[in-house]
């Protein structure tokens, strides 16, 4: 349904482009209304899952950015998720620090770790880089287990205080929901901006043809390291908030399977679009719950979905939605005289 845009200035009130925007805005408003109403109608357990969806969406966005914009398969996100969580656990319980200070410390440590490790490791590419990150995830998991003075080993660390915001303690899933989702939205907005900026063009250029990107003055290696650090910061942020939310962390949460979930949500959601990981996060948090009565089936399902998505749906669910949206409302050709 390609409608010829009406060019006469008198009729320009409702061009195709306007209509498209109008529909977009209406959908967005409806979405926000539904979002705000959800905790009121859903059970506590379901709201809890939606909180996890947001946490995973934040950590997974980092992985998706690496995968979709830089072509880097990272299985190391569980390490940064863990660093964030343990930083919060340790600083809040041992030293009684406020949650935000612990969160910042976690992000500093994660960022520094990502920088120090990423600088040499990101010279690798393809298979080797992916396997190196898998090796990092393994190392991280063993260290979280072995350094029990810090992490409590298999016993974990309990009694992590909940987040208090201007005197309001976020001690129910409902309250946390209203805190975490705006934060996730803020992060998505930041990364959306990044993708549609000078740096975003540089990233996509680097992904498509690294040698040509170098020639245009794009420092490919530095850019990769920066995005790796950014991704680690997101993982650490999500990990810290996770620790505050559940108030108990143990090494089981930071194994290779966690890294796999993050990668899976990026692949299933679609790493090319910023919105994709959101769908992916909903998938990896909601599906195991739906299947919990059948036993440990979800790992098998996850693996199957990963394979099927890689082969048949390389753009992920986000790509599917974008395509559908474009088909329903194809972008009008740019009006004469107006720049894009």
């Amino acid at each position: 349904m390609s409608v010829e845009p009406i060019r006469a200035p008198a009729a320009a009130l409702l061009t195709h482009r306007h209509l498209r925007r109008l529909v977009g805005a209406t959908l967005a408003l409806a979405g926000i209304a539904i979002w705000a109403a959800l905790p009121q109608v859903l059970s506590r357990g379901t709201v809890d899952l939606l909180v996890f969806t947001a946490l995973y969406a934040i950590a997974g966005l980092g992985v998706a950015f690496l995968l979709g914009q830089c072509g880097i398969v990272s299985l190391a996100q569980s390490v940064f998720y863990g660093i964030g969580a343990y930083a919060t656990a340790y600083c809040c319980t041992t030293w009684g620090w406020p949650w935000y200070a612990a969160l910042v410390i976690g992000m500093v440590i994660s960022g520094a770790t990502a920088l120090v490790i990423g600088w040499p490791v990101l010279r690798l590419s393809g298979y080797f880089l992916a396997l190196a990150t898998l090796a990092l995830a393994t190392i991280g998991h063993v260290l979280f287990l072995e350094w029990d003075w810090l992490t409590g080993g298999t016993l974990g660390v309990g009694g992590i205080p909940q987040i208090s915001l201007f005197g309001l303690v976020l001690n129910t899933p409902q309250k946390f929901y209203y805190f975490i989702w705006p934060l996730a939205a803020l992060i998505y907005w930041l990364l959306y901006n990044l993708l549609h900026s000078r740096s975003g063009y540089a990233m996509r250029a680097m992904r498509d043809a690294p040698a040509a990107a170098l020639v245009l003055g794009i420092d490919v290696h530095k850019l990769k390291v920066r995005i790796f650090v950014l991704s680690a910061l997101l993982g650490s942020l999500a990990g810290s908030l996770f620790a505050n939310y559940v108030s108990f962390v143990s090494v089981d949460s930071f194994g290779v399977d966690r890294a796999v979930s993050f990668l899976l949500l990026a692949v299933v959601g679609g790493a090319q679009s910023v919105i994709g990981p959101l769908f992916g996060a909903a998938f990896v948090t909601l599906v195991p719950n739906l299947l919990s009565r059948v036993g440990d089936v979800h790992p098998l399902l996850f693996a199957g979905v990963l394979v099927v998505a890689v082969i048949f749906l390389p753009q992920g669910m986000g790509g599917l939605v974008t395509t559908l949206w474009r088909r329903l409302w194809p972008p009008a050709p740019p009006a004469p005289g107006s720049g894009t």
């Binding site: 063009y201 170098l214 245009l216």
Partner: protein, 263 residues
Amino acid sequence: MTRADAPLTTTPSSALLEVRAVSKSFGGLHVLRAVDLTIARGSITGLIGPNGAGKSTLFNIVSGFLAPDRGDVIYHGRPIGRISVVDRSRAGLVRTFQTPQVFGHLTVRENLVAGCHKLGRSGMLADMLGLPLARRELAQMQRRAALTAARFSLEPVADVLAGKLPVGQQRLLELARAAIADPELLCLDEPSSGLNGDEVDQLARMLTQLNEEGMTVFLVSHDMELMGCAATVNVLCFGETIASGPFAAVKADPRVREAYLGA
């Protein structure tokens, strides 16, 4: 630092780039043997030679993708052997590739915007926050991209994914993208291969025009017609420069005829 009394280099002020006794071998294969070559500022300099002569290897050394085993590359009177590809590009030395390297998942317009990268300086944080500086820079880059697209007759395909273009247009796009940030020295590796006659003419016109605006062009090609626009032509054969001078003189050189033209 003393200056005038003892000039370290004998570079005539007109040389923008000099290749000095550059040698390179891969394993036992000597691809370049002490190659010398000078590119005068403001010139179009050609390089011809049979397949496997080492032309692309020389390009890789000049642009910084490979390090020479011996010898040096002098740019602006300074040796640049240890300088990275990126820094050379920032210093105005830009190249294209023998197999076109467009950003396949970006549109032609977006390819050109990416080509403007080094004209901006907004950091990742400014980009993320969408600060006015970042927006302004991007808008400038987009304007420039639109102008360049028009200039290189790429406007009709501006919103087509670059990977979907025919080879001829990919080459043109690569040239436009390399030229967009006003490089000082533009190195083109076989820019006319895969082009039809009309496209070669257009390419020759574009090169002459860019050159008249002050861009120095270093051109590798098999295409005799395109070589016509070069002031000086060097002939590389089995890793050695066997002739250099005006195209007509080089063509007449018996050694060149024997080695290259097969006569």
